[in-house]
């Protein structure tokens, strides 16, 4: 009960009813180190039946380690775990599941070659006589869970090819079918958009009403305020505080997470747009998007908003030349770019920072120096031979400018935290000194502190005269950073909003196609 502050009044739903009530799960003073690295110094959390409890902290605060202890993946070096008042030791994922703990991981953990139903019931398929798997029942059970979730997924289809959002729904269905007492969700909404997030909150409410506890990890504070009753904050592997949500403000939370004040989350300064850098005319790609026209000027940030699947990343890929365009023209500073040639786009001064930094942006085994220099090798080499010294120099310049935290330039980037990896990708492209930067989800999955830094960096870049096209699913980021907002719906541009016109309502209406008539 240490550190617990009782809820004074139930806000909308008095689920964390009459205290004192025995906690459902207690993890006290858990520690875990990997070799010399102390990942968790004091991991403590107390969960009550019927509550949604947020676990907050910057990347590297030890949240994931704590989750993996609850999952039975890591054995804590010391500390006590109690479920339902009984102290116990978890021997593996199976024994964690057996005591009623179910985990939804950040990255979906599906089997692409198996059916959706089998994904849900792997290792605990319903059995008929003779321990045979009862496929008919497995299918029916899966359908029942999907019906409860209000989704229409075919249990017989393979998991391969599911969209990230649908993969997450399968994960949720898996957790729901376990009838878990404790449901842990590690950033489940990172890949979801409005509708699906709503559905997820609905599931959380259902589970809580059934007496389960939900541990919710998210970097989106507005979601925490919308769905959770209590908050536990961690910093540098340590427990900081637990409080009821109504006793906290966003600033309190950020201060506790970061351990210092953040001046402002979105430091966008006013700039006067200069001449046109990027001009896109009637861009088409059959079956993906059509008739896209817009401009990006020197010194402005233009956001590309829309739901997942609206074709935002696809437009960016076609502009950059990764995908061929069916028709249409892309000009950089008035010069037309040839179709389907990233090399030509790069030569013209364009840079693209992709969404999936691990897969598309970084070579994880190489050092920070080689990664940052990777896109500038032409400039750094003499007679085709790369000068290692200049690699190090350019990397150091950008690492410092981006306030990248690293121990040695030569260490593989896989050892960096998520936020620093994102900065490394940014550094790699900035080292080319582009005139137009296309950046896809600049702050996905990184913590508040780093987020603000990335925003400040972007702001500094446009102040220096760069043009930025930013794709983002986070409305506060779009509203805070963009000078203009372009909204896509089903591959069509449904709105172009100025900074004054853009608000949550106008963007969401255009993103759901409600204002289709008012297209720019």
């Amino acid at each position: 009960m240490k550190g617990f502050i009782a809820v004074k009044s139930g806000r909308e739903e008095p689920v964390v009813a009459e205290q004192p009530q025995a906690p459902l799960l207690v993890l006290a003073k858990a520690t875990k180190s990997f070799g010399a690295v102390q990942a968790l110094t004091e991991g403590s959390i107390t969960l009550y039946a019927g509550e949604a409890h947020a676990l907050l902290g910057e990347n590297g605060a030890g949240k994931s380690t704590l989750v993996k202890i609850l999952a039975g993946v890591h054995r804590p070096d010391s500390g006590v775990l109690e479920v339902g008042g009984q102290p116990l030791t978890l021997h593996g994922p199976a024994s964690s599941r057996a005591v009623g703990i179910s985990i939804i991981y950040q990255e979906p953990t599906l089997f692409p070659d198996l059916s959706v139903a089998e994904n849900i019931y792997m290792g605990r398929q319903p059995l008929a006589a003779g321990r045979r798997i009862d496929r008919a029942r497995m299918r029916k059970d899966a359908e029942a869970v999907f019906a409860q979730l209000g989704v229409a997924l075919d249990p017989d289809r393979l998991a391969r090819g599911l969209s990230v959002a649908d993969q997450q729904i399968v994960e949720i269905a898996k957790a729901l079918s376990l009838e878990a007492k404790v449901l842990v969700m590690d950033e489940p909404t990172a890949a979801l958009t409005g509708v699906e997030v709503e559905r997820l909150f609905e599931v959380m409410r259902t589970l809580r009403n059934q007496g389960a506890a939900v541990l919710f990890i998210s970097h989106r504070l507005e979601e925490v305020f919308a769905s959770c009753q209590r908050v536990t904050i961690m910093r540098d592997g340590r427990y900081v505080r637990t409080a009821a949500i109504e006793d906290l403000t966003v600033d309190d939370i950020i201060r506790s997470m970061v351990g210092r004040d953040l001046d402002t989350l979105f430091p966008k300064t006013e700039t006067v747009p200069g001449e046109v850098i990027l001009q896109v005319e009637n861009l088409n790609r059959e079956g993906v998007f059509s008739d896209i026209s817009f401009e990006v000027r020197r010194g402005e940030i233009v956001a590309l908003a829309g739901l997942v699947g609206a074709g935002r990343s696809e437009v960016a890929r076609a502009i950059f030349g990764i995908d061929r365009r069916s028709s249409g023209v892309v000009r950089i500073s008035g010069t037309e770019l040839s179709n389907g040639s990233p090399q030509a786009s790069m030569a013209a001064g364009m840079a693209l920072v992709p969404e999936d930094r691990r897969q598309q942006g970084l070579v994880m085994e190489l050092g920070l120096d080689q990664n940052i220099a990777l896109a500038s090798l032409g400039r750094l080499s003499k007679f085709g031979i790369i000068r290692r010294a200049s690699e190090g120099a350019i990397a150091l310049t950008w690492a410092e400018r981006l306030q990248l935290k690293f121990s040695r330039l030569k260490n593989p980037v896989s050892t960096l935290s998520g936020g620093n990896q994102q900065k490394a990708v940014l550094g790699k492209w900035l080292a080319r000194r582009p005139t137009l930067l296309i950046i896809d989800e600049p702050t996905r999955g990184i913590d508040v502190g780093t987020k603000a830094e990335v925003h400040r960096i972007l702001d500094g870049l446009v102040a220096e005269g760069m043009a930025i096209l930013m794709i983002s699913s986070e409305l506060p980021e779009v509203l805070g950073m963009a000078d203009r907002v372009l909204v896509l719906h089903e591959g069509r541009l449904t709105a172009e909003l100025s900074r004054d016109e853009a608000d949550e309502n106008s963007i969401m209406r255009a993103a759901s196609g409600l204002d289709a008539g008012a297209a720019a």
Binding site: G150, A310, G513
Partner: protein
């Protein structure tokens, strides 16, 4: 649930799904085409003796393919099966030579035991020491060959030292079907059923499809992979005893190069080389297909050299087909999803 969301039905994969399930049917059709074409060129190809030879010739590779499928489905590979066949055949043969009155069943048990021991070692090194199975079983291939060479020491087991009853297993038929084919069919049926309908079998697919997720789902991955190697080794040991029964003689070259033929058959039969999908029935049919083409070429008096080239081309075709299919699935889903996503 209060805020139920109405979504249009998700795109289903019924058509492509059927296609996937029909993979075995597809191989069956190709076998039929090859068979009919060869028969048109040479009528003797369709007589019962020739068909029996087709089945007998494919039996050993099909049997090894069953074990290999279990291993490959878990994202591993067993390269030692050919060597195990050679060792098992020779040891069983020489045991019969020295103990002519040993019950023939014991001959099979001995073969299986030799294979099981080697499979267990392969499995242990792969799962406990976490050495890639490609390396472990490649080493096993050479070590067993070497040991076999020392044991054989240039000798040959000849038909005279093998009991008649034991040899009969290799050539007798039941209602016109060779015993060998029946034995293999039973193994295919049993293992195929276990792979499809028991949790342990599904675990193998889960491990191959996403090893990390399998561990998180509580699948005992080490134990399952070990079992796959154990079964593969045991079936290779059985195949060694059957090799002896079939050929009635064995020297140091017995089973040489089988491992690659087996992997070719398994891949042609639709087992994904990187794990996660494929069936033992497909693998067995792949073995029959390769052997049918082999025999058809002989019957059509085409140079035997073409044989390997055609097997290779078939492999490429099988992999290209898989690639094409998965690209098609991905494309279908993407376009269907684009329509459904924006409600």
């Amino acid at each position: 649930m209060t805020a139920q969301l109405e979504l249009p039905p998700q795109p289903t994969l019924s058509r492509v799904g059927t296609l996937l399930r029909a993979r075995e049917l597809g191989i069956g059709i190709v076998i039929a085409i090859v068979f009919v074409t060869a028969t048109l060129k040479n009528h003797a190809f369709a007589n019962s003796h020739s068909v029996q030879q087709l089945l007998t010739g494919a039996a050993l590779i099909a049997l090894l393919g069953v074990g290999e499928t279990l291993v490959i489905v878990t994202r591993n590979v067993d390269l030692s099966v050919g060597s195990v066949v050679g060792l098992s055949a020779y040891v069983v043969g020489s045991t019969f030579k020295h103990h002519p009155h040993m019950p023939i069943l014991l001959g099979f048990v001995l073969g299986i035991a030799i294979g099981a021991a080697i499979g267990a070692i392969n499995g242990l090194i792969t799962t406990v020491a976490r050495v890639p199975s490609l390396v472990v079983t490649l080493a096993a291939l050479y070590i067993i060959r070497g040991v076999d060479g020392v044991i054989v020491n240039g000798k040959t087991i000849d038909p005279g030292s093998i009991p008649k009853v034991f040899q009969e297993v290799g050539y007798r038929t039941l209602f016109g079907v060779p015993w060998l084919a029946i034995i293999v069919a039973v193994v295919v049926a049993v293992v195929g059923y276990a792979m499809r309908s028991f949790r342990a079998g599904r675990d193998l697919y889960a491990i191959g499809s996403n090893p990390d997720a399998a561990a998180l789902a509580g699948v005992p991955t080490g134990r399952r992979v070990f079992t796959a190697f154990l079964v593969s080794g045991s079936l290779a040991g059985l195949a060694g005893a059957l090799f002896l029964a079939l050929h009635a003689q064995v020297d140091v070259t017995g089973g040489n190069g089988y491992e690659l033929t087996v992997i070719a058959a398994v891949v042609v039969g639709g087992v994904a080389i990187f794990g996660g999908s494929g069936t033992v029935l497909g693998a067995a049919l792949g073995a029959v297909l390769l052997n049918t083409i082999n025999q058809a070429l002989v019957a059509s008096k085409v140079s035997a050299f073409w044989n390997d080239a055609i097997a290779g081309a078939l492999l490429l075709a099988a992999i290209a087909f898989d690639r094409w299919l998965s690209l098609r699935i991905a494309r279908n889903l993407r376009s269907a999803e684009g329509a459904h996503r924006n409600v």
